[in-house]
Symmetry: C2
Subunit: 436 residues, 2 copies
């Protein structure tokens, strides 16, 4: 036998069992997006290198997969690459189709992305992103809706989560307040570790990163901010009273919390000043969602960006968006053992096969059941019963219909419940009712 | 402004309007696959070059897109390429996972494929295939089920089609019969043109391709075969009486027609001896589906292959499969203007926005409607009414809910029908009923 074939490292095949679970996640997310009036787009797997290069930092450029036509010489620089995320293609889409797009543009996109990362546990070179964005409006209704979507998606999936919320303007105000306006990233990298390394180590790192002792001192009340979200906002409002931008951030947070209350959001949301993802592009709200019962890091994240399309020459388009990580959600549901037991996607019944007359009888019944929307199969060959039962078992088919002469004469089938082993003769009408 | 961004030639963006139509096609196909108990798999966009090379002929090898990590030197031969179809990845999947796969394996797969073809009208470098196959069984129930699937899919889509059916064994028998066993491909290439160029030109071409005058003579009764499918089968049975393989092909065709009758298939199916696609790999049945009301060529095709997985070292696995061409089906539905008018995917209602109190009122109503599974939006900003109406129009939202002080006091909204322009005050209960 030839060498067993394989797939490129960091990529995956998905078996039927995995696809049922993945579709459950994608369908749940898609259905919630739909309920909030988002519209789907798709973009090509390939983008020009001009579109991709320089958008993800130097490190990102190195992680792009480049594409060559077979006809091209290896020495020619490839002009195409695989998309690295859904955000840059979306920005490119909005600019390229700006004559047709009606703002505010509420779009979602669920497609794979590719990164030449070193493969490791839970990190793949091909994985799906589920992005939802509103662009062309700076209304904080956008932030509210994304929070509502997070609440709905995880409620439907049965995953308890907490949404962490921050605002880049508040972080900028704090940096200015302690006299370290140019140290925003250093500050956030250090305080992001508060939970892990404790306050003393954080203060050490802040000094190592070039903050003055005085600046570190002035940061202390903010690091010790606790209490309810409202307590924190009140305290921040006092601390940032003289900083216009900082205050604006506080006001935005306040409005989002007010809107959440009006809309009856019950999702746990925590104002988290240590949350500092995406500071290179987020300009307002920053979101991150963590599962409460599984230690896996962020499973959804996003924020507001005031200049998404500026990179392609169209400025003044503000947007806010989030991205659901389907692969991590998959792992969370596995660990929680929270997939639904029955799935409408799967075959409900298979007709065992004994011979020609029985096959003909099964064909008529199968057609009648499929007409009711019930997924059924007919075993194609009259092999040993044991083999047919093993097939039903392996494919998680809950019922086997056995047809013999007696059953045909009585216009029935013998229905075997594969879980209990019970056998009952049933008519077509009964079967329709049972399986609908 | 920077240069307007673009996408690689031969690729496409899909707008929300296009996605609604594409999803309609994919969902219809998927739902029928599901009813017949097929299970979905997905494979990576990238396969190793070892998997891809030599599988599509010399021409095919040239149409492969090769992938390089950005880190790799241009001089290194790329070890990965984008998948060219879904058949080779499926064969690779079956061999790689042969310990887990339970035969007969009924799988479907709906994913994009990439070919570095010269782009032209209706031919793209990225396009979707919808493949459905049964492997590990040589029962002709497989052929029947694929025909039933074709019937169901096109009935649901409202496209009138004819399925052309042939059998490679019959073609081989005919070639032997006329003493030109080694000329099977030459014969089929020539007679495939019968409709276009007429009998005289076909006979000329047959001689040019090296058939003796005697062989061409002996082919004449077969080229003139007409009448019903049953007439043709009877005539072929006589003609091929001494050819074991040819007769086997006739018997297979007969059994498929018998099974169709038993199963009540009403799809027009024509025994077409000129159909000769895929002779490099098909070993039994050959299928091709053509739309009756649109001249566009084949929109679905397939056949039986006795040795799909042999290329990867696993022999003896017979299979039968077909592939639906989503892009051509898209074009057919456009030409027939046969898309459904209303689509459940789309937003049903938008709340116009006048101010804060009205927004709060709308938030409560929107939550109640979404709870019923009804997709609604709230316009995020209190801009001019005209702009909000234009938004609803452009996004094909059929109803706008207008909220003012009177409506809030009466616990109603003013419902505007965007098609008729009619305005009616309605309660939440009425609205739920109308939009469910």
């Amino acid at each position: 036998m030839a060498q067993k074939p394989s797939i490129p490292k960091g990529t995956r095949d998905f078996s039927p069992e995995e696809m049922v679970r993945r579709n459950y996640i994608f369908n749940t997310i898609r259905e919630v997006f739909r309920l909030y009036g988002f519209r789907q787009i798709e973009t090509p797997a390939m983008e020009t290198m001009q579109t991709l290069m320089g958008k993800y930092g130097e490190e990102g450029d190195k992680l792009l997969f480049r594409i060559q036509n077979s006809g091209e010489k290896a020495s020619e620089a490839p002009e195409k690459g695989l998309r690295y995320d859904l955000t840059v293609p979306f920005a490119r889409y909005v600019v390229q189709h700006r004559e047709e797009v009606v703002f505010p543009f509420r779009r979602y996109q669920i497609q794979p992305v590719w990164r030449a990362d070193r493969p490791q546990k839970g990190r793949y070179r091909e994985f799906y992103q589920c992005d939802v964005d509103i662009v062309g409006s700076d209304s904080l209704m956008g932030e509210l809706e994304l929070i509502q979507i997070v609440e709905q998606v995880y409620r439907r999936l049965g995953i308890r989560v907490c949404l962490h919320l921050n605002n880049r303007k508040v972080l900028a105000g704090i940096a200015r307040l302690i006299g370290a306006e140019d140290r925003l990233v250093d500050i956030t990298v250090a305080i992001d570790k508060l939970d892990k390394i404790g306050i003393d180590k954080v203060n050490e790192e802040l000094q190592e990163r070039g903050l003055s002792a005085q600046a570190v001192d002035r940061l202390q009340p903010i690091l010790h901010l606790d209490g309810s979200n409202q307590d924190k906002l009140t305290r921040l409002r006092t601390l940032l009273a003289d900083d216009e931008i900082g205050l604006q951030g506080v006001n935005e947070l306040q409005e989002v919390f007010d809107l959440m209350q009006t809309a009856g959001v019950t999702l746990p949301v925590e104002l988290d000043l240590c949350l500092a993802r995406g500071l290179n592009y987020y300009t307002g709200a920053i979101f991150e969602v963590k599962a409460l019962d599984v230690a896996i890091g962020s499973i959804t994240g996003g924020g507001r960006y005031d200049n998404l399309t500026g990179i392609f020459g169209l400025s003044g388009v503000s947007g806010v968006g989030i991205s659901f990580g389907a692969d991590r959600i998959y792992d969370v549901l596995c660990q929680l053992n929270a997939y639904p037991e029955q799935n409408a996607e799967q075959t409900r019944l298979i007709f065992a096969c004994f011979g020609e007359a029985e096959k003909r009888y099964a064909l008529a019944w199968a057609a009648a059941l499929r007409n009711e929307g019930i997924a059924v199969e007919i075993y194609p060959e009259a092999v040993k019963m044991k083999k047919q039962m093993a097939y039903a078992d392996a494919n998680h088919i809950p019922f086997v219909a056995i047809v013999g002469e007696n059953e045909m004469n009585a216009e029935q089938v013998m229905l075997k419940n594969m879980l209990t082993g019970e056998q009952t003769p049933v008519t077509l009408a009964t079967l329709k009712q049972m399986l609908s």
